[in-house]
């Protein structure tokens, strides 16, 4: 039986209260859906002394729309988003990506905020404490070097399905933290460094994800091993915004990669892919994942540069 480490639990009712709990504790973690955090705690990867459950806070849940924007509360579950008529109308490829994420009974709990800033994953990281110690700790868990490259840095992988889609949509994030409220583009969230993948301050909470209210054409393709409950081995999201094509490639590095094409000249795409160098941190071979991502990107670019019908096959490879 997998047992959780010992921690205290609080359920604040406002963001201010949640942040003040975080400031008072030396080792606190925020809990949203828990589908990423609870398995990690069970594997001994995180041992917090305090869990701050954000689900008691009401105003960071649900979808709100005005004339210009659609604002998604960070604690909205993927289950709810998948069934939203508004999102289906405006961002069908985002709904398609949610459809391909995980499975129904995990989506009833998983939240969009948690999905975006999920912990990076690696074959040598997401393992039990016993397994990791037998192998010798990797760089990410406090060891001397990375088991994949042998170097003294981390090569974990960002395997969110929704991160790349929101990146291609140029989503805006609203954050609240000890220093107050701020907004940032999702392009600024990612650092590209596996050791510190997100530009977030200590104790900061994503409260809303804001998208401009324009019907956007786009697509999402995902390479996976299993038909259900699987992280992407490689994924490509495309959004056509104001005539230019935004391509976001995920699961091939510590952050998703973004390219904006004004014309659909595929030579730029080749150049762009030269910069992406995946390592052997998932089940499939890195070269294969890279080739497949390139194939998926080309297919999608061709589809949407020709006027782009917004029809969706399941988007699985």
């Amino acid at each position: 039986m997998l047992i959780l480490p010992r921690f205290d639990y609080v359920r604040p009712t406002s963001i201010k209260e949640a942040i003040s709990y975080n400031l008072r504790s030396k080792n606190a973690l925020y809990l949203a859906g828990g589908t990423d955090l609870i398995p990690r705690m069970k594997l001994g990867l995180n041992k917090p002394e305090l869990i701050i459950d954000l689900k008691g806070i009401e105003d960071i849940e649900g979808i709100k729309a005005d004339n210009d924007t659609i604002s998604i509360g960070a604690l909205t579950t993927l289950w709810e988003l998948e069934r939203s008529k508004l999102l289906q109308e405006y961002f069908p490829h985002l709904v398609n990506a949610i459809n391909l994420t995980s499975c129904e009974t995990l989506k009833t709990r998983a939240t969009i905020g948690g999905n975006i800033i999920q912990e990076l994953r690696c074959l040598f990281y997401n393992q039990s404490e016993f397994w990791r110690k037998a192998k010798g700790l990797c760089f990410k868990t406090g060891g001397y070097r990375c088991h994949i490259t042998g170097k003294q840095n981390c090569h974990a992988n960002y395997r969110s399905d929704l991160g790349p889609v929101l990146l291609s949509l140029h989503a805006k994030l609203v954050l609240e933290g000890p220093a107050g409220r701020r907004e940032m583009l999702i392009t600024d969230l990612y650092t590209g460094e596996a050791a510190h993948p997100y530009n977030l301050f200590e104790g900061e909470i994503i409260t809303h994800i804001v998208l401009s209210r324009k019907k956007t054409k786009g697509g999402y393709w995902k390479l996976r091993v299993r038909g259900a409950i699987d992280y992407p081995e490689a994924c490509v999201a495309i959004s056509v915004i104001d005539g230019s094509i935004n391509i976001a490639v995920g699961a091939l590095g510590p952050s998703p990669y973004l390219l904006t094409l004004s014309t659909s000249d595929l030579r730029y795409l080749d150049e762009f892919f030269e910069k992406i160098q995946p390592v052997a941190n998932t089940f499939l071979e890195p070269r294969y994942r890279w080739e497949m991502a390139k194939y998926m990107a080309k297919k999608l670019v061709l589809q949407f540069s020709k006027g782009g019908k917004n029809e969706h096959d399941r988007g699985e490879v």
Binding site: L2, Y9, R109, A228
Partner: protein
């Protein structure tokens, strides 16, 4: 660690008890309330054998802290029986021999129950999609699918 009081409903009965903050709902159900229908398979949310319905939605009880269900309504496989008779899904699982080792069964039935209760029309695709949340390591999926489809036919929700 201090024990914290929690109140919630299990199969219609109000429960009030002290639990540890780091206790999962699965542990509370099995070890304190002796409702052993929900099983711990992987403990990491991959297999679905611990599925219960929380406020009507299927969720993995191994990933839910008991304190998170404060004020909520939990349904387990033990609550399916009505007036001493088995639920239609339970009957169909028996009729079709959809139970092999039985470890995934309660999760499968609760996932199927959600499908049966919420969908207007059910087809083969929807059944497959619903139970893709759950793993049967005996790989007896075909009989499970047959049982669920048969149950859907009997309650008149099957789309011919």
């Amino acid at each position: 660690m201090n024990m914290i009081e929690v109140k919630f409903k299990v199969n219609g009965d109000q429960v009030r008890m002290l639990v540890k903050p780091y206790e999962t709902l699965l542990y509370t159900l099995r070890e304190r309330l002796h409702l052993t229908g929900a099983k711990e398979g992987c403990g990491l949310g991959a297999c679905g054998s611990c599925t219960v319905l929380i406020n009507g939605k299927p969720m993995r009880s191994c990933l839910v802290l008991t304190l998170e269900v404060e004020g909520k309504d939990v349904r387990t496989i033990e609550g399916l029986k009505k007036n001493g008779g088995l639920h239609i899904l339970q009957r169909k699982f028996i009729e079709h021999g959809a139970v092999q080792c039985g470890f995934c069964t309660s999760g499968m039935i609760l996932t199927a129950l959600y499908l049966l209760e919420t969908e207007e029309k059910i087809d083969h695709e929807k059944v497959i999609r619903a139970i893709s949340s759950n793993i049967c390591r005996c790989t007896g999926y075909q009989k499970i699918i047959n049982a669920i489809e048969d149950a859907a036919k009997e309650v008149g929700k099957w789309s011919y």
